[in-house]
Each structure stands twice: as structure tokens, then as C-alpha cells.
Symmetry: C2
Subunit: 221 residues, 2 copies
DNA sequence: TGACATTTCAAACGCCTGTTTGAAACTGGC
DNA sequence: GCCAGTTTCAAACAGGCGTTTGAAATGTCA
């Protein structure tokens, strides 16, 4: 591997700290949010000095902005817009794929999977970066879902109705992340295992499909 | 009024600061959450000295606990468990009333209406008081909804299914509070007016009823 | 009015935060 | 080997936080 021949040397000398800081910052920001995250905590996890953030990024805000910027790219790479579905998938299939991807993204605990958590954090605890997050992180997802729901509702559906139904879909998925401590306390057997996440995706999809079909049927009358 | 004859004297002398602190604290805690709220901000709004919190309540945590305790009582008073419905209301009517009351409670900006906001805050930013909040504030509501959903789903429904559907209902309502900044940015015409809240309640009710009916029908097969 | 208890107040405390400093350590090219 | 440029480091900075202090003001009752 060429990368393995080149990177160690580069890594241990020049950009190692820069890279480690970004990784540690993404973790901490995703875990506790921008405000509760401390630069000391980030630097400690990165094995760097406290002044490293200032030297490499300027300040905490700029570090956060850089983390978000990289998260957009990671999301596109790990969860492509077409969900890996065949070209002519039904809207039902696409909704199922959307909900599943949305949940997996939020609950993915992998090393480079902070995109979903960062977006979700920004929603409930907005920072100055919210405008950028909406533009690059949230709006694209919303548009995708919008198209799916429009198709499901049929031609008679108005914009308002599509919006409301779209929000009803995402709200269900976000709930389990935002209110996880409460859910865990109310239902101790809910451990958010991979299997339980799949069940959740299946429920939200079925619940939403039934709701949208009922909506469409009521409008047709 | 007897209270008007008695209270002014008592108020301006002994318990005025105590009372003002509680009112100001409820406001601030509901607005920005426990962590972001500062003792200085609360005292300023109450027109009291910074040391007043320590003198009257001990510390910030105890003040918060007292605010929550009063909020439970206010909620019972302002939003009675039966929603003011007739004794033999249908589960559909009860679901509509539940959703409406839930939303109104969260978006009520009245002087003694912080219960909904405080509960919602505690869900996304739990404090040491979460156990008490779940026990006294959340669980009772969850049980009420649980009964409604069970009745809607019919006899064949399992506990798991009832739980999932119940959470799908509340998640939709909570979303508009938790993610209000994002919603407002995505849809600038959403100003959360009284009329829009009513429309929201109607949508969530219809969406959920259609979903639950579809669920029940699918299970019957 | 006088004596006692309650309540308020400005000021300071210790702690943690993000940020800055200037010197030390390290790097790569001559 | 040396030196300019880059990166790291311990230490300190200013500012905000919850909390404490002891004196001053206020209220209560004989």
C-alpha cells in the first residue's frame, strides 16, 4: 500500500497533531455538544497540548467549523444520496431506506461516524454554525425526504401537507437520539443495539407509511 | 377577596423575594435550560441580590428542584388528566385532546406555564433531577397515552407495539419544540402562532390515527 | 425605644473556561 | 553542524461561573 509507506512518516511529523485534534474534537462535540465540550478535554484525548487548538485552528469555533465541514464530506461518502437503491425503487422502498440510513447515521458509533450526531446536536443546541448546518447538512436530507413523501401522498397533496408529513417522519427518528436518557429510563430493555435500531427503523417506516396512506386516502374523498 | 387583603402585606415583607426568585427561575430554566441558566440572571430578573438564591434555597440545584416540584402541581391544575372530556369519550377524541394539551403545554407562554418546557428541557439535557422528572412529570403522561393507544390498536396489540406507537406520537410534538430554531429556519412562515399550533395538533392527531389504524389492520390479517 | 432575629447587600472566594505568551524542542535544507 | 522555520510546551491571563462572607439594613416584638 502506497498510503502505508507514505503516511507514517508524514503523520508522525507534520500533520499528526492536526489530524488527531480533528478526530478528538469530532468525538467530543458529537458526544456532549459544542458548549459542554472543552478544549482541554479535546486536547487531552488527542494527546496534544492545550495551546494546540489555538495554533492549528485559531480558536474553538474555527475547530468546530472545520469538524462540521469534514462531517458533510464523510456523510456523502458513507451514506450516498441514493442509499444504494436500484435506479427505479418504489417510494416505499426509498422511505424505508431513508429512515434506516437516518437512524444508522445517528446511532453509528464508528470512528468516522459523527455526522448524524453533530447534526442532531446542532438542532437542539444551535451555535453560530447553524445556518451552514441547515444549508449543507439538513436541507439536502429534507429535500430527499420531501420528494419521497410527495410521491407517496400523490398528486393532490399540497406543499404544506408534504412538509408536515416529512417532519413527522424525521421527528420519530430524532426522538430516540435526543431523548435517549429518558427512553432508557422508561424502558430499561431498550439498549439501542444494532438489532433494536433495525426494529425501530421498521416501526417508523411502517407507522409513517400507514399514516401517509391514510392521509392520501382521506384527501381523495 | 381575602387573598388580596392578606397577600400584599405578606408579599412585600417576608416571602416576596422567595416568590419572585421561583418565578424568575422557572422562566429562565424553561428558556435556556438548567446549565445555561445563571444564578446572576435569575436574581437580576427577580430584582434580588445574587446571594438571595443561597439564602432562600441553599444552592442552584435546590432552587431547580423546587421549581420542578411546583411545576408538577401547576400542570395538574392547568391540564387536568381527563382533559375536560366527557366521561365516555372515544379513544380518537382522547388522542386528539392529548396531543393538543401536550402541544399547548409546551408552547404556552403564559406566566405560570413552564411545566411543558421544563419537562422537554430535561429530556434533551438531563440533570440530576431526571429521575424525579420521569416519575412525576413524564410517566403519568406516558401512561395516559399508553391507555389511549392500547384502545386504538385493539386487543391483539402487544406491549412493545403500544410503546412504539406512543413514542411515535409524542416524538412528533416534541420535535417542534426541541428543533424550533431549525424549523423556523427551514420554513420562515412557521411562527408558532396559536392558530399554527392548532393546525399542528390536528396534523399530528390525524397522522397518528391513520398510522395506528393501519398498524391494527395489518396485525389483524 | 431598645433588643433581637431575619433578610439584604457589595465584595470577594475558588474554580473552570477559552485564549495567549514566550521560551523550549524539533524539523528540514545548506 | 548549523540555523531558520515550525511546532510544542508549561504557565499564566482575563472573564464567567456558583458560592460564601460579614456587615448593613430591615423587620418583629416587648
Amino acid at each position: 500500500m502506497i498510503s502505508q509507506l507514505l503516511e507514517p512518516k508524514v503523520d508522525t511529523t507534520q500533520v499528526a497533531t492536526h489530524r488527531k485534534l480533528l478526530a478528538a474534537a469530532a468525538e467530543v462535540f458529537a458526544e456532549v455538544g459544542f458548549r459542554a465540550a472543552t478544549v482541554r478535554q479535546i486536547c487531552e484525548r488527542a494527546g496534544a497540548n492545550i495551546a494546540a487548538v489555538n495554533y492549528h485552528f485559531g480558536d474553538k469555533d474555527a475547530l468546530y467549523a472545520e469538524v462540521l465541514k469534514r462531517a458533510y464530506a464523510q456523510a456523502l461518502q458513507k451514506y450516498p444520496p441514493d442509499f444504494g437503491l436500484p435506479a427505479r425503487a418504489t417510494p416505499e422502498q426509498r422511505l424505508r431506506a431513508f429512515v434506516r440510513a437516518f437512524l444508522l447515521r445517528i446511532f453509528d458509533d464508528g470512528p468516522h461516524s459523527h455526522h448524524g450526531k453533530l447534526m442532531a446536536r446542532e438542532m437542539i443546541e444551535p451555535t453560530g454554525a447553524l445556518d451552514g448546518v441547515v444549508r449543507h447538512g439538513i436541507r439536502p436530507q429534507a429535500d430527499t425526504l420531501h420528494d419521497i413523501v410527495r410521491e407517496l401522498l400523490g398528486k393532490g397533496a399540497g406543499e404544506k401537507q408534504i412538509r408536515l408529513c416529512s417532519m413527522s417522519v424525521v421527528s420519530q427518528a430524532l426522538f430516540y437520539h435526543h431523548c435517549r436518557p429518558v427512553v432508557a429510563r422508561m424502558f430499561p430493555d431498550m439498549k439501542f443495539t444494532a438489532k433494536q435500531i433495525e426494529e425501530l427503523a421498521e416501526h417508523i417506516t411502517r407507522f409513517s407509511l400507514a399514516a401517509i396512506r391514510g392521509y392520501a386516502a382521506a384527501a381523495r374523498k
